[in-house]
Symmetry: C2
Subunit: 533 residues, 2 copies
């Protein structure tokens, strides 16, 4: 079975609604800046998703700005903004998406009694009124409106049907039925959707969508059941990130539909060869690792990726593999550069990888490339991705690591000294001991910027294989009560750690801190935003 | 909904067959020693699984030894050994499990034409003969015999039924229907199992089992469909590890059955409060991280685990959470020790954690605890788990890190010196530069032991939170053509890296290397063992 399938007719085409930048980005500890969000959205467009839910614009000025930037810069997919039923939400969403060629407003309100009572603290009549007003107002602003009855799978199906019928009557073109808490099973979901079709005749004339959470490990199976029941949009996220256990994994539902297409006739128009790279980009920018045994994009998902070929695979691939690794973009790229490769070769290679890098950015990337090529025998596509991503992050920061030195060992106390370039260009230095060299470096950075931080998470992973592999470090820390993260890349993991720490600290100080940390932890009483569908 | 449910009657009780130590341990790069396998099996018994598939004894002397040790030391669950239909396999399996109070032989042969043709290179008649002979021979040795038609979901159901009927006639008490390549969907699997029940009248009198792989993200949903179709055993693995994208995740199917019990009446007798700890132990010993958004055991699976409480959760937990984190063992343990805690307090705490540590091991653990308590304000249950696990690994190694020192920085070349204690007690030292301090330390270790290694993977994660958190490092390397892994734990990540590297190297040199690397990569032509169901 190949990913190169015939085009699918419109009735059997399942649209992919990517919520990596909205539901995914709400995961604790993720703090993407606007530039990173635009880069991910650009890659999602290259991947061929149909809709990008770019954010929840009312929730913060940073979210509004990012959705605006994506609307202005990313061509192809529909760009969608999330909004509660409040007028201000809908206007913020419209304000952020209006520059897109294909804008969509997605508004939602819960229909389950448990949410109506405890979260909304209102009653069913009010919910109907809010849904009606919200869809009507959204339609005044925007042709394309989607409505979600939040927590639908735990709601009374008759009441949910009433609310959906109201939304359709007011002009919603997409009705999305979320399993907000990841509670349903395929049979139940099929029955629920079937009953909705019976109760809401107008549902047959709009697009039905599914949005499933993975709390019980069922998000992909429930989404698949939804598609078989008639849904023609699946809401999902790269690497399955999202609230709690996350959303339906985009790569899994896409490859499930593609691999089993011959049996059910349904398919998406996703360019599956871009899946592996999109997964790496999201993992790198969010700091959320993909476990080795993750389906489709995990390191071991295809036996040959691990360098170990099983008996059966050697004799005939299909004995133990139902997909071809090349179809999801593993091994698709044979780019290898060395220390003698020039600026033009680098630019070509970056273009092949989908990065348009020119002028000063190209100079900077070339400088980093040369430094790396001095240390590594071969610079691969994976390395280039890591460098370019790293450069992109650097541009968005106000503090920089100028230099560091560290001494450590089992027979002495570690000591570290660092120099930090401040946003105004002056340099501050600091010195510290610690439990180890990394701890000492972190202490020295705190001393240099005269700020106390609490380390929250620290992870290191290698890019590719070999002794000279690049190390990629993610640091999450809390400073001035704000939680923020930063990443760093280097063949020296102490240096990568120091970079990551400085960037996380800069993010915390500059207010690009993680939204939830600000709005909810610091001010729990106000706690204004529900997590969304 | 609580994990403390009423006991379930036998007809509705689903047995949990854990294959973490067999299918899970076959994942690339995992090299558990016997002591680690016994410790995991002990924890699985504490978790209350019904069957432990402890290994595939014919495949290596190490596997045979580990299954034997588990059979002799772990009480409670059935201890199962895997075997192809060959006589030697069955005898090896029996030899390894015979000391268990409850031994089981699990034998398998493929029934799909693609496997019969390409992998077995035989025909259907021969498969029937092999299945018959194998089950008959196994039953001569052992009361409890399980049979699996491998790749059943891609096989002709009529032929699979014939083979299953033969196995039942010969005395197999469990028939397991594997979705070996992770290809099926819930509806198809339900139909396949329903048809088998029609074709094989004897199936109603034995235990039907399911074994699903996660290549398309459907393992849990397919296993659940199997249970609804009549299966009363689910084969699964902690953290869903296993071949390629792995097996059905034990924690997900268990919590799915428990959380939705009121709707279908089925349940397991797993002690769910042990799930989080079992997951941590398996992750630590295998070096396979669990992604933050993994259902049930991921860091974010429960919103409050991340320290961030959503609006709705504050008002009423069940608005956004369908399970209680305490029911899967998060936050269950409030153990906190400090520098003034004595030996007795440590022993008590370890006992609460399920570790029986006495005599010299207790002295050693106490020494490590005191060292750690000097560096960390509070030593938590997570820290104790990490130390004790680390001590256990140390005992099994022949080389040891005696000391190291390192100097590094942006303005100088890094240099490292190390001392390594050889198995005979003498010390060797080495010095090296490198791309960074970790690389320099790895170079110095190679110089000290005079062995060239190729680094294959390197990952670091933090145990718990805070600046003084323990760092846990996993190294996978290739030396003398063998792939092996090692772990190290310290507040100093350079030290943890050095420990992990020395242990991985010792594993490679001592032959505790990864089975696949030896038998398949080094000698692809012989390639004797299929991956199993």
């Amino acid at each position: 079975m190949s990913a190169q399938t015939e085009s699918v007719d419109e009735a059997n085409r399942v649209e992919i609604f990517d919520t990596t930048l909205r539901d995914g980005e709400q995961s604790p500890g993720i703090s993407l800046n606007t530039q990173e969000k635009v880069e991910i959205a650009t890659q999602l467009a290259r991947l061929g998703v149909d809709v990008i839910e770019a954010g929840f614009p009312i929730t913060s000025p940073g979210d509004f700005e990012a959705v605006t930037a994506i609307s202005q810069n990313v061509q192809g997919p529909v760009i969608c903004g999330l909004a509660r039923t409040q007028k201000a939400d809908i206007e913020a969403a419209w304000g952020a998406i209006k520059d897109s060629a294909r804008p969509r407003i997605h508004t939602f309100i819960s229909t389950s009694d448990i949410h109506i009572e405890h979260q909304l603290q209102t009653d069913r009549e009010d919910v109907k009124g809010q849904a009606k007003a919200a869809v009507a107002h959204a339609r005044e602003l925007c042709e394309d409106v989607e409505f979600s009855p939040m927590d639908a799978t735990r709601a009374d199906v008759e009441f949910t049907a009433e609310v959906c019928a109201i939304a359709i009557a007011e002009g919603a073109g997409v009705i999305n039925i979320p399993d907000t808490v990841g509670y349903t099973t395929p049979d139940e979901y099929t029955a629920f959707l079937g009953r909705l079709y019976e109760l809401v005749p107008g549902l047959a004339d709009v697009r039905l969508s599914v949005h499933c959470h993975d709390d019980l490990g069922m998000a992909v199976a429930n989404s698949f059941a939804g598609v078989l029941a008639g849904a023609r949009q699946v809401e999902c996220a790269i690497n399955g990130i999202g609230e709690r256990a996350g959303n339906c994994s985009l790569e899994e539902i896409v490859m499930l539909l593609r691999t089993r297409r011959v049996d059910h006739g349904l398919d998406t128009t996703v360019v599956t060869e871009e899946l592996a790279r999109t997964s790496r980009m999201v993992s790198r920018f969010t700091g959320y690792a993909v476990q080795p045994n993750k389906a489709i994009v995990g390191r071991n998902a295809f036996a040959h990726e691990s360098g170990i070929h099983q008996d059966g695979v050697l004799k005939e691939r299909t004995t133990f593999e139902i997909m071809d690794a090349r179809d999801v973009g593993f091994e698709s790229n044979q780019i290898v550069l060395g220390k003698h490769s020039g600026r033009h070769a680098l630019q070509d290679a970056l273009e092949q990888l989908g990065f348009v890098v020119e002028g000063n950015s190209l100079n900077q990337a070339f400088k980093r490339f040369k430094e790396l090529a001095d240390k590594k025998k071969q610079v691969t596509a994976l390395d280039l991705e890591a460098i370019v991503s790293d450069e992109m992050r650097e541009a968005a920061q106000g503090y920089d690591l100028a230099w560091f030195e560290v001494e450590a060992g089992t027979r002495r106390e570690p000591v570290a000294r660092v120099g930090i370039t401040r946003p105004d260009g002056t340099e501050a230095s600091g010195e510290s001991g610690g439990d180890g060299p990394v701890d000492a470096v972190f202490g020295a950075i705190q001393a240099a910027v005269e700020t106390e931080c609490e380390l929250n998470q620290y992870t290191v992973s290698a890019v590719g294989e070999g002794d000279d592999a690049l190390g990629e470090v993610t640091v999450m820390l809390r400073a001035h009560g704000r939680l923020a993260s930063g990443q760093g890349v280097s063949t020296d993991i102490i240096e990568a750690s120091a970079q990551a720490y400085v960037r996380a600290l800069a993010n915390a100080l500059e207010g690009a801190a993680i939204r939830e940390a600000e709005s909810i932890v610091d001010d729990a009483a106000a706690a204004p935003y529900p997590p969304g569908p």
